[in-house]
Amino acid sequence: MGILEVKNVNKRFGGLQALGDVNLSVAENTVHAIIGPNGAGKSTLLNCLVGKLIPDTGSVMFDGQSVLGRSPYEINQMGISRVFQTPEIFGDLTVMENMMIPCFAKRDGAFELNALNSVGNQKDIIERAEHMLEDMNMADKRHMHAASMSRGDKRRLEIGMCLSQEPRLLLLDEPTAGMARADTNNTIDLLKQIKQERDITIAIIEHDMHVVFSLAERITVLAQGTPLVEDTPDKIKGHPKVREAYLGESA
């Protein structure tokens, strides 16, 4: 039984079958990549996992509990954190403040009317956020305006924010899209390091084969809204169906 179990999920948009009978099982403490050509339904699938979309039929279970019908914040509180294709951070706030917010969410839950205490007195939160910034090698940037950072740093911050919540499942949506090679490699190293240091399951949607084959332990290939094969990276590389459906056109 995987930590994330997707069973018979279907999703239609008008006449378009975006997802058809998707079954997927992500084992705990693995890095599982979902790849596929454009329009294969990767993003739709991801949105079904985090509560942005509700599938027409089927079930999505996280750690034995259904996520369907829950809103994104509830699913996050269950232990799923999401990293976006374009980094979603609090651009108007400082890096430190960015890092404190998920720490508050972890400690106080979805809502807490903590209106008369000073942020400066929240020693545990500050400590935790500072620790996380050091882990991310960003301690020197703590007073920076988040919006003014480079894209690579924004990505790093976003991943750090997600990790500070100690999620059990980290979802990454094309985390290196639009990045220069050096930034991409940095991100790969960061993710490798995270995997080594923590008990965490990572599901990654990716276009870039270099990233996929550097990180993934299992790969699911999605084509036209349906999983084609699921296997280890080595087997996927040589799989004829995959070559035909996906690698063939890009290799």
């Binding site: 976006f84 969410a105 209106a115």
Partner: protein
């Protein structure tokens, strides 16, 4: 001090000093001098400064922190006013119950309006709050204000006021027939004559000023709290909020209700200073005015709304007083033709033309100074300090060889 950081304590003390010494500071010109018309140190106007200061400080908690632009906050001001007058009618002229009830009722009212309006954001939210405020205005003006019906809550066009036939069950025999605080009437003033200067210290003003300081202090605490951080996060990126396990709706609703209660307090104080509540306080223009005060001063800053409220109320007062005669006195030194030309132009903007000035001010501030006076001040300060540091640099380089 007071659980605040040093910078904020200083700010609070500055505001406290300004409020305390306002009767002096706002009356810099001697009585009877030509400049006396620019004095603002009389009770009625000073009361308005602080009352609208409270209103704007509260509005800023919603708009400045979360970015939700409400166009209906005048409704809460009006509800607060009506509540206070009802307390005067039912219980008596002591202001305490009136002020407390105005905050509570405005709070309840804003829970209902906020709960519905906050289901949408952006423009939808602005329009919804505007619609609610107009609806409240219509209800106050006609629906609930029919003097002949049994259910006359607002007394319609005439405005709600206290009549001798009202019960006033808590009124003791010797109590004043005016709003008072345990016998001290709001109108009572102490006048101090120093040479040709006249300073007025008014009980009502000081009550309002104390409440402004309390409001301002609470606002600082909110700004610096985790709650305040969450509100700024809502403004910055709601998507990230949701995917960080935070439910934005109760946060925005709490901000909405808090700012509604501030508005209710301001409304209650308006009635306390003058126990007559009319529906026009709820009109969209009144809602627009508090928006302007906040952005003019600087939305999202602590001191901005107080400055904005003072600025607008001061110039409203000055501009409304100016008439043709005053203009002729001012521009009399110009040649006749030019004098008339200038007066013809200026006349549009003063007296009843104050609203035109207000509208233009609105456009200019939004277009050129979206950060308001505070940002403008910071820019000027930055410019000056850069020049100063350049000066000291020059001096440093010059002085080295001399030694």
């Amino acid at each position: 001090m007071f659980g605040l950081q040093k910078k904020d304590t200083t700010l609070l003390l500055v505001v406290a000093a300004l409020a305390l010494f306002a009767p002096f500071l706002l009356n810099p010109f001697p009585e009877g001098s030509a400049m006396a018309q620019f004095n603002a140190g009389y009770p009625d106007l000073m009361q308005r400064f602080v009352i609208f200061g409270i209103f704007a400080v509260g509005f800023n908690i919603l708009f400045g922190l979360t970015g939700y632009l409400s166009f209906g906050h005048a409704a809460f001001l009006g509800v607060g006013s009506y509540s206070a007058v009802w307390m005067f009618k039912l219980l008596g002229y002591n202001v305490i119950p009136g002020i407390i009830l105005s905050v509570i009722v405005a709070g309840l009212f804003s829970v209902v309006i906020g709960y519905v309006s906050l289901r949408r954001s952006g423009i939808y939210f602005s329009i919804l709050t505007l619609a609610f405020a107009q609806m409240s205005y219509n209800m106050a003006y006609s629906v609930l204000g029919n003097p002949t019906s049994n259910f006359n809550l607002t007394n319609g066009e005439t405005g709600l006021q206290v009549y001798t036939s009202d019960p006033q069950i808590l009124a003791s025999a010797g109590a004043p027939d005016l709003p008072h605080l345990f016998g001290l009437t709001m109108r009572s003033s102490y006048q101090l004559e120093l040479g040709s200067w006249l300073f007025t210290f008014n009980a009502g003003y000081y009550l309002c000023a104390v409440l402004l300081l309390v409001s301002f202090y609470v606002a600082i605490r909110i700004f610096r709290s985790p709650f305040g951080l969450m509100l700024r996060a809502v403004k910055s990126n709601q998507q990230r909020m949701n995917y960080t396990g935070l439910n934005t709706r109760p946060y925005t609703l709490a901000a909405f209700v808090i700012s509604g209660m501030y508005a209710g307090l301001a409304g209650g104080l308006l009635s306390t200073m003058d126990p007559l509540a009319g529906a026009e306080r709820m009109q969209w223009t009144a809602s627009g005015e508090v928006v302007l005060m906040t952005i003019l001063g600087g939305a999202g800053t602590l001191i901005g709304p107080v400055l904005g409220a003072g600025f607008i109320k001061y110039f409203e007062n000055i501009f409304s007083k100016i008439n043709e005669g005053v203009l002729h006195a001012w521009f009399g030194f110009l040649p006749d033709g030019l004098e008339n030309g200038v007066i013809w132009v200026v006349e549009h903007f003063v007296g009843p033309g104050w609203h035109l000035t207000l509208g233009l001010l609105f456009m200019l501030v939004v277009t050129f100074l979206p950060g308001g006076l505070v940002e403008g001040g910071q820019k000027i300060a930055a410019l000056l300090s850069r020049r100063k540091s350049k000066d000291t640099d020059n001096r440093a380089t010059q002085s080295t060889p001399a030694e």
